[in-house]
């Protein structure tokens, strides 16, 4: 099966040249005639009722064309059908610092910013909730009236008999783990350009075109239709190049709706590009998660039961929250063989920016807890920590206790690979002082078997059109966000049709042109859109083959499509040169651009002419011409819907977790710890990933390295720091993603388990590796210096304080209590809520100054 000509080759990304030369266009690079710039007014309060919004002063500023507020588009929306709790802009309440209140569309960005300062909003401040465990105790002033106790959703699952299994266990470990909040920090800030055409009949705004940096053009089209009350067919969403998403663009982000609302009011195109601070406020990242985890094992290391209680600090709106909390429970299964599981998950609302989906959606923080605890257990049992993982492998193919169907299962090989390559057995425990090795595993879905919109519609559809000269156009809804889906689609089409990459052109993610694909999230694109592409290509191939077989007087099975030639494999090899006298045979290596129209016409004539005898081979163009002459236009279509067997169990919430296939990963990290400063250095990570089949190994390696690097960021340095709902580090200087200096050597190891349902056996490759990195580093730190870190990120101060505690040395205070008078919340001593001081140079925008002016009857 490894006899491929395009698949499995390190082919350059089809959009690489544009991206590397700067010629490629991202949304913010676009502009259209008459375009205005939009700027959004955000709430300065974490929780407040809007008493009054007065935009009249802003509207009068020269250069301002429109000012819109929540009233201009009051329909609610949300990515999940159960979570329609967002609005374009706030109607009655703001729920986090940064919530959207109004938007100005003006001739320049500068004027728009000036105008924001002229919008008067009167707020009635409400008590706010910042800690999920506190928020759950709320008795009044709920963040959403229909969510008592501020609980967005809770689930309670029991599979097997965990209570009994715990009593039968020889050893039970129990601990609380906390993972602090992180965000995607994609390079490209969100940007949207919305433009209405004037309807020729009515003279009013008619069709809408939206260019947006999105992972989900189809959902955007759908939500725009809800909010703007327009049919979807009147809305065209185009995704230009996207500079990374990681989940942060996998739902409708406020600016996408707001730009359209503003464009409608202004009757002019409006572009909004977020500042980096706004990107942090739009967020949708990984929630702060509290995991209370209990694992029972037998003395032989086999796990008898797992119990997890998970609380996620979800922020002010639902977003993907219900899915996140379900993934956290469901993905306790399908990695190891765990016969009994109890899961209690709480998704809690707080007055902070909204958490959503982020690379490794739902699994990462629980995996950190689980793999750390497994390491502690191995230590207790005096068992090698790679061995305890081997003792708990699934017996695939199987269906897990929580209803997940596992078919291909490369985890054993993943573990074997990292153990061998890192020389685990030889080096573990024998490294110099303060240096250590740690191992951990993880897995992820290759797309959700049940789509969030709960319909029977295929999750992906792809159309292919082939022109007379053999040029192939693939129309796919797949959204390339940098992960390489356009290249994947081109490779699959080229492989199936046996032609060179140069023939294939991909038209992607334009809702007017491309059939529906539900988007780039949950690592579904290669599996689902790849399968749809495969089927579409097979569909056209069959049409070509039928014509070719007729011409070559053979059966379809006799034909081989490869290297731009269609060959009858039964024809004697010597027959080929006999046709050499025909000048129309385009040699396999001929460049596509070298062909001229005359050849095609001649080919067509020859096709019509009664042949002297059957041919042994046809060039791809000849075969295409034959098919077009025979069928008329040559096009094919293919779609993919996950099979019913993969769709999971029947319990409440069973829809989330099932996938047609799971990827697997194992990692070994080598770290050293500076025992005097607590600084951790990651020297090397061996990361193996079972992606089924690597359609493009360079691309897969890139994803593995990126996952490890992003996981390392969460493990060591990245953390959103909050003070009363105010994000203290809303920028890339203070939110510390690792730089190239900290990047360890990553040895990416591809494991191919060849999935029975994946396209050419391929599965997910871009998310599954991330979750293993954090516990691998935690376990390596333990190996190095003997401290168990249960709170991420493992910043130098957390590491040092744990080291000091272990050595019973001087305690390091990790709270801010250096100043004994420091209050626990800043709003008690200051902040706009009780800003009563009388500073010498009070800012014009200081609310206290405005109050003073009102009191003295002053106005401007």
């Amino acid at each position: 099966m490894s006899d491929f000509s395009i698949i499995g080759k390190p082919i350059a990304m089809v959009d690489a040249a544009g991206k590397t030369t700067g010629a490629g266009k991202y949304t913010d690079d676009l502009s259209v005639a008459g375009m205005l710039y939009g700027k959004i007014l955000h709430s300065p309060h974490p929780h407040a009722r809007i008493v009054r919004v007065d935009t009249s002063r802003a509207a009068k500023l020269p250069g301002v064309v429109a000012v819109v507020t929540g009233k201009d588009a009051p329909n609610p929306y949300g990515i999940l059908p159960v979570g329609h709790d967002e609005r374009a802009m706030a109607l009655d309440k703001v729920r986090y610092v940064g919530d959207n209140v109004a938007c100005v569309a003006a001739e320049t960005e500068f004027i728009a910013e000036q105008a924001l300062e002229l919008i008067d909003v009167e707020y009635e401040v409400l008590p706010a909730y910042f800690d999920p465990e506190e928020s759950m105790k709320a008795q009044s002033d709920f963040i959403h009236d229909n969510k008592p106790q501020n609980i967005e959703k809770d689930y309670h699952h029991v599979f097997g008999d965990p209570d009994k299994a715990f009593t039968e266990a020889d050893y039970v470990a129990e601990a609380r783990f906390i993972a602090q909040e992180v965000t995607h920090a994609a390079m490209e800030p969100h940007s949207t350009l919305a433009s209405f055409e004037i309807d020729s009949q009515t003279g009013k705004p008619g069709r809408l075109t939206v260019w947006s940096s999105t992972q989900v053009p189809y959902y955007l089209q759908h939500k725009l239709s809800l909010v703007l009350e327009m049919p979807m067919s009147q809305i065209r969403v185009i995704k230009p190049l996207v500079g990374g998403g990681f989940g942060g663009k996998s739902e409708v982000i406020p600016l996408e709706i707001i730009a359209a609302v503003a464009a409608r009011a202004a009757q002019k195109p409006v572009k909004i590009t977020y500042t980096r601070e706004e990107v942090f406020l739009a967020h949708r990242g990984r929630p702060r998660t509290i995991v209370d985890l209990k694992t029972g094992v037998k003395n032989d290391g086999s796990i008898t039961a797992v119990k997890a209680r998970v609380i996620q600090d979800g922020g002010a709106y639902c977003s993907y929250g219900v899915v996140t909390i379900l993934y956290s429970g469901a993905l306790l299964g399908a990695l190891y063989d765990i016969p009994n599981i109890q899961y209690d998950g709480y998704r809690v609302l707080t007055n902070k920016p909204v958490c959503g989906a982020m690379r490794g959606h739902g699994t990462v923080n629980v995996r950190f807890a689980f793999e750390s605890q497994l390491d502690e257990i191995a230590l207790q049992l005096k068992m090698d920590s790679a061995e305890i993982r081997r003792r708990n492998l699934l017996k695939a193919p199987c269906i897990t206790v929580n209803g997940l169907r596992v078919q291909s299962y490369g985890l054993p090989e993943c573990i074997a690979q990292v153990v061998t390559r890192s020389q685990w057995n030889e080096r573990k425990g024998k490294l110099p002082k303060s240096r250590g090795l740690g191992i951990a595993c993880s897995h992820y879905v290759s797309g959700a078997a049940n789509s969030i919109i709960r319909s029977d519609m295929p999750h992906s559809t792809v159309n292919i059109k082939i022109d007379r000269d053999g040029g192939i156009v693939v129309y796919t809804g797949a959204s390339d966000i940098g992960q390489g889906s356009d290249t994947m689609v081109a490779q699959i089409a080229a492989e199936v049709l046996g032609c060179s990459m140069a023939r294939v052109k991909v038209i992607a993610a334009d809702t007017d042109l491309t059939p529906i694909d539900i988007g780039s999230y949950s690592s579904r694109v290669t599996f689902m859109n790849g399968n749809a592409t495969l089927r579409a290509a097979q569909d056209v191939k069959k049409q070509i083959a039928t014509a070719a077989a007729r011409k070559m007087d053979c059966t379809l099975d006799d034909l081989i499509f490869r290297d731009d030639v269609v060959v009858n494999k039964r024809a004697p090899v010597a027959a080929t040169p006999a046709n050499g006298s025909q000048p129309t045979v385009v040699h396999a290596e001929a460049s596509v651009s070298g062909r001229v129209e005359g050849q095609i016409l001649r080919g067509s004539l020859q096709q019509k002419r009664k042949d002297e005898g059957p041919k042994a081979r046809l060039s791809f163009e000849e075969a295409v011409v034959a098919a077009i002459d025979f069928h008329g236009a040559l096009s094919g279509t293919g779609s993919y819907a996950p099979p019913p067997e993969a769709r999971g169990g029947k319990h409440k919430g069973a829809g989330v977790g099932p996938s047609p296939a799971y990827s697997y990963s194992a990692q070994v990290a080598e770290v050293s710890v500076d025992e005097e400063t607590g600084e951790v250095t990651v020297h090397k990570v061996w990361a193996s990933h079972d992606c089924g089949r690597a359609l493009n190994p360079t691309s897969v390696e890139g994803q593995i390295i990126g996952s490890v690097w992003m996981g390392m960021g969460q493990a060591l340095t990245e953390e959103m720091v909050w003070k009363d709902g105010l994000l203290m580090n809303p920028g890339l200087l203070e939110y510390r993603s690792p730089s190239s200096v900290e990047s360890p050597v990553v040895e990416a190891i591809i494991v191919e388990s060849v999935d029975p349902e994946g396209p050419f056996g391929a599965k997910e490759a871009s998310e599954g590796s991330l979750a293993a990195t954090i516990p691998a580093i935690a376990n390596a730190i333990y190996d190095a210096v003997g401290i168990r870190l249960r709170e991420s990120p493992f910043t130098p101060e957390r590491v040092l304080s744990a080291l000091r505690a272990k050595k019973k040395q001087k305690h390091i205070n990790l709270t801010e209590g250096v100043d004994p008078t420091a209050p626990t919340t800043f709003r008690e001593h200051g902040g706009s809520l009780c800003f009563k001081g009388k500073g010498p140079e009070r800012h014009a925008l200081d609310p206290a100054r405005r109050e003073a002016q009102v009191a003295t009857g002053g106005a401007d």
Partner: protein, 326 residues
Amino acid sequence: MSLPEFKLLRPRTVREAVDLLAQHSGNVRVLAGGTDLVPSMRQKLFEPQYVVDIRHISVLNGISPLRDGAVEIGALTSLTAIERSPYLRQHYSVLSEAAGTVASPVLRNMGTIGGNICLDTRCLWYNQSLQWRKSCGFCIKKDGDLCHVAPGGTKCWAAFSGDTPPALLCLNADIEIVSAAAIRRVALGEFYTGDGVAYRKLQSGELVTRVFLPAASADYRGVYRKLRVRGSIDYPLAGVAVVLKRANGHIADARVALTAVNPAPLLVTGATAALLGNVLDEALAEAVGDMAAKTAKPLTTSALTPEYRREMIRVFTKRALLAAAN
């Protein structure tokens, strides 16, 4: 975030520059590399009507060794030039080393030594956008009258976070300050006030033109140690510069200076006396580390907790001394 509107002035000579500064005094800012000023202007921390771009005053650029062994460095000299200068690396290595830790290579190409000396003090409650600062009710350093870091206090604790000034303090550097009316030369130690708001003694009409390193400071062993979370880009969360000279195995002279843990870069008083005439061993290095930790008054102006940062001043001072002595 757009820049506020301002008028850009581009003098070619120092004279022209100081005349412009005098003319628009109170409503003008000097722009050198712009790596600190421009982001701050976007955040509306400064909204001057005039910006005097001094980058075209070529006499302010360059490193000139003098005949007596001293060195003059023009205020516009880039940090990259200082980091790479073979002369400085040989004779004033602590400065090159400190310059090489600033920000990232790109920012060092743009950033100047003058800008690094004049660098604004920093605080998490201050270096934020206008929208952000509005949400917290502003702070004592800008537009408000209270401090979120030391509540109830009337002093601003924003931390001076430049990397080269502690090295320059160790080298007993002077700076030249020019105004339309006069030229003065001050010891760098006298330049900073210790207050987070009025952090430097520089009038609106004044320009820093040159840095002098005395010949007597040449050829010390020097080490700079910087606490940061990432190995690049990050400002110091604590920084220690050390120079020392030995004679017959004993310390003949030494100085220790700190950055990023007070509103001014500071020499550790008492360190020189403690070290002088002694043989540097672990215990002595540790004792001086303790002195440095007492000099440091970190607060919650930056990432990592104050207590940790003070601990690191202790550790880094010890390590820097031991490294310099080896």
